[in-house]
């Protein structure tokens, strides 16, 4: 451990917010797009340095522990690769006139504010601050989703705003209830909002109040995770916004909400008298998985298809954490990381494809591997990965979820496998029609940045074949932390 010459936590927060101010002021898209990449890279490097620099001890606002380091690094990494993709994607949008340069300035500033919000949610040790951060990230993405100002984009943004705000309001009510439950033990003031202190003394809290609080938090943050009965905003928001935003929504924002939920799960589980959060999470996760798997069959819009696939995978992850125990938690963590990497890679491919073809309709896209081999095969690998085939990373994590479930609850495992197979069938069906066969639509050459997509896919493939021992040890430790 190197004694801290600079403070990586401050850097992770300050770089995005300062660059947001800068990007809002600077004209010219080429410069701002590059600056966006540079800022994201700097944030990523600062996040990486968390591994080597001495950690700050948990304060009343900031906490860095083994759990959130994983998420911060993943978040900033995908944020960085998406900014590269975004630069080439947005250039094309400017050419076709879907966006003007004034909107681009706004877009880049919002992108950095969103990254700030997500990083703040990860590092915050204060449940109130965490709520503020999630709310900030939500509001920025609402504005981004509506940026095209078409009918569909406005509808999507409005729906997202209404459902997202209601969810976040319920989460705030849950947060207040947690404070109320803690007050008799912790006393008044700041201590009652500090997560590490709350967990230490959660055993003495009023269990009934804690139960009600968890239900509100689960509903509230669950809306943002996109769990089944509350998912309605997700497909629209993913399909209508700019594709880089779909990539970060699917890959990152869902993780942020889930991370908040995990923190509260640990808190509630620390009280022996309260309800076990597990069964609730298992049920909702399973419902999301099976529901989304059925919905996959009827999609005609390619971005909507992968939005439903995100609901499916969030279902699997919530199911895994609901099962609990070292193995299932390990699988859930691995699945979160793998899903983020794969899903954003898929959206990179889909973004370029829909730009070339000028449509998002699946029936108008054919034979991609013939006309655009790099994009087509990239998409094939991505979909094979997301469908859970070996030897890619998601196969590993899904296999672990299924096998740990079989060991403990064979009946649930049957339902889980049913959902997985259903989704697998739908994805292969769509993939074969899009990637193979007689080419259809425009065959113009792609002006695309392939590096982010292939970097992600290489990581997913690498993780599927060989997981380095230190990484496994780290994840096992975190899995234990999750209980």
């Amino acid at each position: 451990m190197i004694p801290s010459l600079f403070d990586p936590v401050t850097a992770v927060l300050l770089i995005p917010i300062c660059s947001a101010a800068l990007l809002a002021a600077l004209p010219g898209y080429r410069l701002t797009a590059r600056l966006n990449v540079v800022a994201s890279l700097a944030t990523f490097l600062a996040a990486l340095s968390l591994f080597v620099v001495e950690r700050p001890s948990p304060g009343s606002y900031v906490l860095i522990d083994d759990l959130n380091i994983v998420f911060i690094v993943l978040n900033t990494f995908v944020g960085f690769t998406t900014s590269i993709f975004s630069a080439s994607y947005i250039a094309h949008e400017l050419e076709t006139g879907r966006l003007t340069s004034a909107y681009l300035r706004f877009y880049h500033a919002m992108y950095q504010i969103m990254m700030f919000g997500m990083n703040l949610a990860f590092v915050s040790n204060n449940i109130g601050l965490m709520w503020v951060a999630v709310e900030l990230a939500t509001l920025t993405t609402v504005l981004m989703v509506g940026i095209y100002r078409t009918h569909a984009a406005l509808e999507a943004a409005w729906k997202y705003f209404i459902l997202g705000s209601v969810g976040i309001a319920l989460a705030l009510f849950g947060t207040i209830l947690i404070y109320m439950a803690a007050r008799p033990v912790m006393g008044e003031g700041h201590d009652g909002m500090v997560w590490t202190l709350l967990v230490e003394r959660a055993a003495n809290f009023d269990a009934a109040l804690l139960n009600v609080a968890f239900v509100f938090l689960f509903l509230g943050y669950g809306t943002k995770v996109g769990l089944a009965p509350l998912h309605a905003w997700l497909p629209d928001a993913h399909a209508e916004g700019p594709t880089p935003i779909s990539a970060v929504l699917s890959g990152l924002l869902l993780n942020v909400a889930l991370y908040a939920l995990l923190r509260f799960k640990i808190l509630v589980a620390a009280n022996p008298a309260s309800i076990a959060p597990g069964p609730l999470m298992v049920t909702v996760g399973l419902v999301s998985l099976i529901f989304a798997a059925f919905m996959l069959y009827r999609r005609r819009d390619i971005k909507r298809l992968f939005a439903y696939s995100s609901i499916e995978h969030m279902g699997i992850i919530v199911f895994a954490f609901g099962m609990g125990g070292p193995l299932a938690n390990f699988a859930g963590l691995l699945h979160m990381v793998m899903h983020s990497l794969t899903k954003s890679a898929i959206f990179y491919a889909v973004g370029h494809i829909s730009q070339i073809k000028g449509t998002q309709r699946i029936s108008r896209i054919r034979g991609l591997t013939v006309t655009h081999p790099a994009l087509g095969w990239g998409l094939v690998v991505g979909v094979v990965a997301i469908a859970g085939l070996p030897p890619l990373g998601i196969f590993m994590s899904e296999f672990l979820v299924v096998s740990s479930t079989f060991a403990r609850q064979p009946l649930l495992a049957i339902a889980l496998v049913f959902g997985l197979l259903l989704a697998f069938g739908a994805l292969t069906l769509r993939l074969t029609s899009v990637a193979f066969g007689e080419p259809r639509g425009s065959t113009a050459p792609a002006d695309a940045s392939y590096i982010p997509m292939f970097a992600h896919l290489a990581l997913v493939l690498g993780a599927g074949i060989y997981l380095p021992a230190p990484l496994v040890a780290w994840f096992q430790h975190v899995a234990q932390l999750l209980g």
Partner: protein, 220 residues
């Protein structure tokens, strides 16, 4: 018997629930906005009273924010938007007034039963505040689901946030972070809403959300 402090805060919180119920049967946009302004006014009184009895000066800030932003600026701004758009005549509600009122009463009963049961140990003032706050939150949700007009959905959402402020101030000694954040979020939310209303207007010449429904779901 109860002290004066208890009685006054009980009255104010109960008044908020009553005004929330009043929102349910307003069938004109202007009157809905007026009721909302009253809601915000009572909220700021309630918060100021809490600041006084808890001896927590920072809550006065919250009260002033509620008074200035929610009781004056936002209703006035929404009034002007409605006037400009020429949509002041009526509200298209998706559900009739009778069933809505019944549902509203049911929600109040539900939140009282739930909150009073689980907060047995807390002091009576805090637990009643919490029960009333949950009622206001749920009634705000009900306003949102029973209206099809974007402006009235926004009003429903803001009355929901008023309920959250009531809960946060009722929780004694809760740090300032939350109050600021609530006020802040409302401010941002309002900017968002403003932008959206104008965009919707620009595109559809109407702020009826059902115009948006034509584009629901899949592209065909």
């Amino acid at each position: 018997m109860h002290s004066l402090a208890f009685d006054v805060s009980h009255t104010l919180a109960g008044g908020l629930v009553l005004i929330s119920l009043m929102m349910l049967y307003q069938d004109r946009l202007y009157s809905l906005l007026n009721v909302f302004a009253l809601h915000a006014l009572v909220l700021s009184l309630s918060v100021a009273w809490q600041a006084f009895i808890q001896d927590a000066p920072h809550l006065y800030v919250t009260a002033v924010i509620a008074l200035v932003f929610k009781a004056i600026i936002i209703p006035v701004a929404l009034h002007r938007i409605i006037k400009q758009l020429g949509i002041h005549r009526d509200i298209e509600s998706a559900v009739g007034i009778g069933p809505t009122m019944l549902a509203g009463m049911g929600l109040v009963a539900l939140s009282l039963v739930l909150m009073l049961r689980v907060t047995g140990d807390a002091d009576p003032l805090a637990r009643e505040d919490l029960a009333f706050a949950l009622s206001v939150v749920l009634l705000g949700l009900l306003v949102m689901v029973t209206r099809r007009n974007a402006v009235s959905q926004v009003v429903g959402f803001m009355s929901l946030e008023n309920g959250l402020v009531l809960a946060a101030t009722g929780a004694k000694g809760m740090p300032l972070v939350v109050e600021i954040s609530v006020a802040f979020s409302i401010l941002i939310a309002f900017i968002v809403i403003g932008i959206f209303l104008f965009r919707i207007r620009e595109r559809f010449d109407s702020v009826d959300v059902s115009a948006l429904d034509d584009f629901r779901g899949e592209r065909r």
